[in-house]
Amino acid sequence: MQTLLKIAALSILLLTTVNTWAGIVVIVNKENAVTELSKREIIDLYMGRNLYFPDGKLALRLDHPPTSEEREQFYQSLVKKTVAQVNAYWAKLLFTGRATPPMLMGNSNQVLDTIRNNRNAIGYIDEADLDQSVKVVGRVD
């Protein structure tokens, strides 16, 4: 019984780990002309250096809530910074009046919904949450 319990717990742990390890994918509307974005292009979009897709369309950048797993993992993998550091970065830029941080979403579903409905939106989700309604243009891990 105990052994069974242990096996079960280990299985759950393994599953969870596999879940966590499933990387972050960058997604866009299926109709977006963009097929793939380099890491650098993703960084420039999300850190406010470049606000446009390669085809010249203004990108609507979507972000997860500050406390979300996805957000933390995304920035850590992308620019090796904590969520707090990224927040401080935006806070500094806010003084200049020209700060355009990504739009804040409530959760992954909201991100998916916004992308499905908006042709120029771009966002990121846990790979586990991915479905066929959006197009993956990059991976961050």
């Binding site: 650098r40 960084i43 850190m47 406010g48 250096r49 992308l78 620019v79 090796k80 910074k81 970065y89 500094k92 830029l93 200049t96 020209r98």
Partner: protein, 519 residues
């Protein structure tokens, strides 16, 4: 010099350090603004860039700053900067998100004037501090050296200066210096002082000894009763003592002995010259009695001289003459001889001396084949006068008679007081004995002053014998003169007679014995 080198070194080092420090400050300023500047360059955010550039320029050591991005942004703060301005400091700005990617530059113009001035000031301060420390050290060293070395040495020098050479005084070791070089110096100096004192003492004693020796020698030389002279090869007197001056004063014509040659003081200069030559040539001293050359011939002076060769310091040969005045001795000897030979009352030869004189006279006569006359004079009335007037009158008679005999004879004739009132006269080279006898008789017949106003005639009988006619021996000749004299007495006295051989005269020994018994 050393301080100047050190000062220069410290100045240079501090100056460089200050410049380096300024560079580090620039680096630190850059580090401070790097993240903001990187963001500004990343985003081409000129507002942040301006803030950064101004912030940098607000530092004293930064005159101006430029923030540029690779995408073309260029924001300036502070003084204008050209790309050709020297001393520019450029730092690259890495992308805040992509490591290894350069997003821009920060270029700073350091305030060189300020930095250099500050560096110079700091360097000068450092040098000043070092110099002050050096000065303090030097002063400390001087004080220490003075206290431990100069002052004791100065004190010792003062002490040493006051110590006269050869004195008993010694240096005193300053307190606390017994074990160091000063103590050693004092010890060695005292050793030297002792050595000097000993040497000086020794030399003084030696000098005193030499002086006393010299005094004694001079005393000997000057007070010597003998005359001492050093004479060179030419006969010149080099040195002489007072006794010599006294001895030669009779013979000297000049007060300076040195102006007259030695030999010319003597009666026979050639003899003296020869003596000097002998002394030169032989190593043994030569001695001789030399007669001085005197102005009056009657007071002859004799000097016994000892002449020997000496060699002086220069190696010149000189002779030393030591002279003794033997005039007095000679005179004394003569007087002694006179007293021994003469009758004290009359001054005539006594019988013994007379005999010797006759012997030599006869010897001489035999050799020269000359004639001699023996005159035996017997006073006729001596005994009655002696009895009548006393011995003093008798002595007067004898003295007067002697004087008269001498007066009528030659100096070389021998007159002997043969007996109490008997005189024997030997006349050499005689041709006319009668004439002599007559003259004598005449003289002896004259009255004689007997003192107290008394006068009387003594008269004499003279017997004569002749050599070689009447004999070869003195005894024979005297006996025959005696015989002749007795014949005069028999014939009435007051006459003379030459011996003639008669019968009965043969045994002459009797009368000879008779006469011998008289002496």
């Amino acid at each position: 010099m050393l301080t100047a080198c050190f000062s220069f070194y410290f100045y240079d080092r501090t100056y460089r350090e200050q410049l380096h420090s300024a560079n580090q400050q620039l680096q630190q300023l850059f580090n401070t603004v790097e993240s903001s500047a990187a963001v500004a360059a990343y985003l081409d955010n000129d507002e942040i860039a301006l803030e950064v550039a101004r912030g940098l320029s607000s530092n004293d050591i930064v005159s101006g700053a430029i923030v540029t991005s690779v995408t073309g942004m260029e924001v300036r703060g502070g003084s204008a900067i050209e790309s050709t301005t020297p001393d520019l400091k450029t730092y690259t700005l890495d992308s805040p998100f992509m490591s290894g990617e350069i997003v821009g530059n920060i270029t700073m113009l350091p305030n060189q004037a300020l930095i250099k001035t500050a560096a110079r000031d700091a360097a000068w301060r450092h040098v000043l501090i070092v110099s002050m420390q050096s000065l303090a050290l030097v002063i400390l060293a001087i004080i220490l050296v003075h206290r431990n070395l100069s002052a004791p040495i100065k004190k010792l020098a003062g002490q040493l200066h006051l110590i006269p050479p050869g004195s008993m005084e010694r240096l005193e070791c300053p307190k606390g210096h017994a074990q160091d070089e000063i103590g050693l110096l004092v010890k060695d100096a005292n050793t030297l002082l002792t050595a000097t004192q000993n040497t000086l003492d020794g030399e003084r004693r030696l000098r005193e000894y030499a002086e006393s020796l010299e005094r004694q020698f001079r005393l000997i030389f000057e007070k010597a009763s003998c005359g001492i002279a050093l004479v060179n090869a030419e006969g010149r007197i080099l040195m002489y003592n007072p006794s010599l001056v006294e001895m030669l004063s009779d013979a000297s014509t000049s007060p300076d002995m040195r102006s007259t040659p030695f030999h010319s003081f003597f009666e026979n200069p050639d003899q003296v010259r020869a003596l000097l030559q002998t002394a030169y040539q032989t190593n043994s001293p030569v001695t001789s009695d030399l007669q001085l050359h005197t102005k009056s011939a009657d007071q002859s002076r004799w000097l016994n001289s000892l002449i020997s060769k000496v060699t002086d310091d220069e190696g010149d040969m000189i002779v030393e003459c030591i002279l003794y005045d033997i005039s007095e001795r000679t005179a004394r000897e003569k007087r002694t001889q006179f007293e021994a030979e003469r009758d004290p009352l009359t001054g005539l030869y006594n019988r013994r001396a007379g005999y010797r004189k006759i012997e030599s006279a006869l010897q001489h006569a035999k050799q020269t084949s000359s004639h001699c006359a023996f005159l035996l004079v017997d006073l006729d009335k001596f005994k009655p006068i002696n009895d009548q007037y006393g011995h003093d009158a008798g002595d007067l008679v004898l003295q007067t008679i002697s004087r008269r005999i001498n007066k009528h004879l030659r100096k070389e004739d021998i007159v002997i007081r043969w007996g109490g009132d008997e005189f024997l006269i030997i006349v050499e080279h005689v041709n006319q004995p009668k004439a002599i006898a007559e003259k004598l008789l005449a003289a002896l017949q004259k009255p004689i002053d007997l003192g107290n106003g008394n006068r009387d005639v003594v008269g004499a009988s003279i017997g004569i014998s002749l050599f070689p006619e009447h004999g070869q021996k003195i005894e024979d000749l005297v006996q025959r003169a005696d015989i002749a004299m007795y014949r005069v007495k028999e014939a009435g006295r007051n006459h003379f007679s030459i011996y003639e051989k008669r019968r009965g005269d043969e045994p002459i020994e009797n009368t000879a014995k008779h006469h011998n018994s008289l002496t």
